[in-house]
């Protein structure tokens, strides 16, 4: 996790915020996905969240559901995702956090996954349906492999749970901006400043905010409040529009450049 922590520290010292970019591994194809990740890293993403597709993504809205289905149709498995990480590592040093649901990882084996992910060059992992309550075995496996663990906080989280999640996250705390699934929205939730204040009161970890952030203006607003701004569905939609063509990488990179401007100190 040192690469992820170092990266966030450097940004913090400059007064910048991290732009955290979510992409679905294997969408539209495994080969194309590696190109897209590299292009997004070169365009200024500070952290890459790389989704491993799951058949039943119950925290995701239509954009990421469809991306996962495209990836699965293209034959994307856990080993394929780890191979994408390896390919990206040949050219890019940007921290990579893998994001998925528990079952594919359980099926692969928790210890084996933690070891293989770290070996491939991933820095951490987020398992959306694994809260700290059930995470003991996973944390031991991740710690043994030197893989970071990130857990989610939500607007419904109590102060006790914010402290619990803060204590168990390595790297950053992933704060879900709204009650709901992933997906681009027109407006930011009005109670976001209050949510961030509640989180800050209980933990001094860097806080990344995601779910429903898609435009440079939204990124700029959230960057005033958080240490990192997470953009997912908007990027995934750009990839979907381009289809299986080299345009996907350049279109994603262009969006990332416009988003990144919002996280730099003016």
């Amino acid at each position: 996790m040192t690469r992820l922590m170092r990266s966030l520290e450097v940004l913090r010292s400059k007064g910048d915020r991290a732009l955290i970019c979510y992409l679905m591994a294997g969408d539209p194809t495994p080969a194309r996905a590696a190109e897209i990740v590299v292009a997004v890293a070169e365009a200024g993403a500070d952290v890459i969240e790389l989704g491993i597709p799951f058949s039943d993504p119950l925290a995701d809205g239509p954009s990421i559901q469809a991306a996962g289905q495209r990836a699965l149709n293209a034959g994307t498995t856990v080993p394929v995702c780890l191979d994408i990480v390896r390919q990206v590592r040949r050219t890019a040093d940007t921290p990579i956090v893998l994001m998925t649901y528990l079952n594919p990882i359980l099926s692969y084996g928790l210890q084996r996954f933690a070891a293989d992910a770290a070996d491939a060059g991933a820095d951490g992992a987020i398992l959306v349906d694994l809260t700290p309550d059930e995470a003991e075995e996973w944390q031991e496996a991740a710690a043994a492999a030197g893989l970071g663990t990130v857990f989610l906080l939500a607007p419904t989280s109590t102060p006790e749970r914010i402290r619990l999640v803060g204590r168990l996250c390595t790297g950053f705390v992933y704060c879900v901006a709204r009650t709901g699934v992933t997906g681009a929205r027109v407006d930011l939730p009005p109670d976001l400043p209050e949510l961030l204040a509640r989180v800050r009161a209980e933990t001094d970890r860097p806080v990344g905010v995601g779910f429903g952030i898609s435009t440079p203006e939204q990124v700029r607003t959230v960057a005033e409040l958080a240490d990192g701004v997470i953009v997912g569905s908007a990027l995934v939609n750009v990839v979907a529009e381009a289809g299986d063509s080299p345009d996907a990488a350049s279109a994603a990179a262009e969006l990332v450049r416009s988003l990144k401007a919002g996280t730099r100190r003016a």
Binding site: D56, L58, A59, V78, N103, P104, S107, D133
Partner: protein, 405 residues
Amino acid sequence: MPDALMPDARGHFGAFGGRYVPETLVPALDELLATYLACREDAAFLARLADIQRDYVGRPTPLYHARRLGDKVGCDVYLKREDLCHTGAHKINNALGQALVAKRMGKPRVIAETGAGQHGVATATACALLDLRCDVYMGEEDIRRQALNVHRMHLLGARVLPVTSGTRTLKDATNEAMRDWVANVRDTHYIVGSVVGPHPFPMIVRDFQSIIGREARAQFSEAMGRLPSVVTACVGGGSNAMGMFHAFVPDAGVRLVGVEAAGRGVETGEHCATLSVGRPGVLHGSRSYLLQDGDGQVLPSHSISAGLDYPGVGPEHSHMKETGRAEYVSVTDDEALVGFQMLSRTEGIIPALESSHAIANLAALAPTVPSGGSVLLCLSGRGDKDMETAVSALGLGNALNGGQR
């Protein structure tokens, strides 16, 4: 309630169960657990529930000695008549209980998932009775094959929201209901329809359904002065089976047999025999047996009965399989259709296709029943809703052709 029958504090039944959900839902599950535990100790709540069960649902449901069916299959058979519950299936036991809990939590809106539509109808009914808003998620494929129940839900004032993702059946309806709950958790209660989902749902649904087995055990003992040799029920998610089995778990001499749907045959891959051929995994909030491929992706399931068409199963069933307390077998679509016709013709009772799976297994069970012993079967629902599916599968076709012998 004996401790051996309770999950641990975090909802584990042995290696199964627990709570695997997005963080957003954790406080709602804590609130539900606290409210439910308070309800369970509250005399006024229990009295209200008992009144509704008696005067509205029609409990206790009869225990019926099915002599002609018994002669046909070769063993003594008793049916617990959950098909005679208001709305036509056992689902109402849980829906009313949870709707009362939702009312107590002050949540004005209820959502539910449904496969066959029985849980959707039961939830819509409970919401009409208790003045709650109701939205039911149902797969497009199930809307097609269970149109009658869709009309019933509409008439009861519920909205039916079609689900077009995945296989368009119960699994996908459950995904959509979960997504809705994550978004609207502050004013919405999700009435999970089976003994599945994150803790405390498997425990709550089981407790509200366990009235089936408590009544049946008392009725059987009173009539016969002994207990049945075998207690059996169909298993999809497993709520009627768990409700029936639970009172008999401490009775070591009573065999518990769950009957899963083998669809077109377990060897074809088109089935939902989760406990028979699945392996443990995590879906919809708990750890349990699951139909999944080698990469941990959930497999599409198939059954002629929409209510069993689900790739998961309740965690307590997984635990009972693991400990050997219950046995699980499976019967195919075709066998279930034979059971469907057999009960109709021997007893004048048209069963739901779900319950027909348990009927169909009686012939295989009969030789294993000791002489003088009896089988107690949970007839979980009635078959009106399945007329179209059954008529088309059996090739009965034209209503004017006089039927077949």
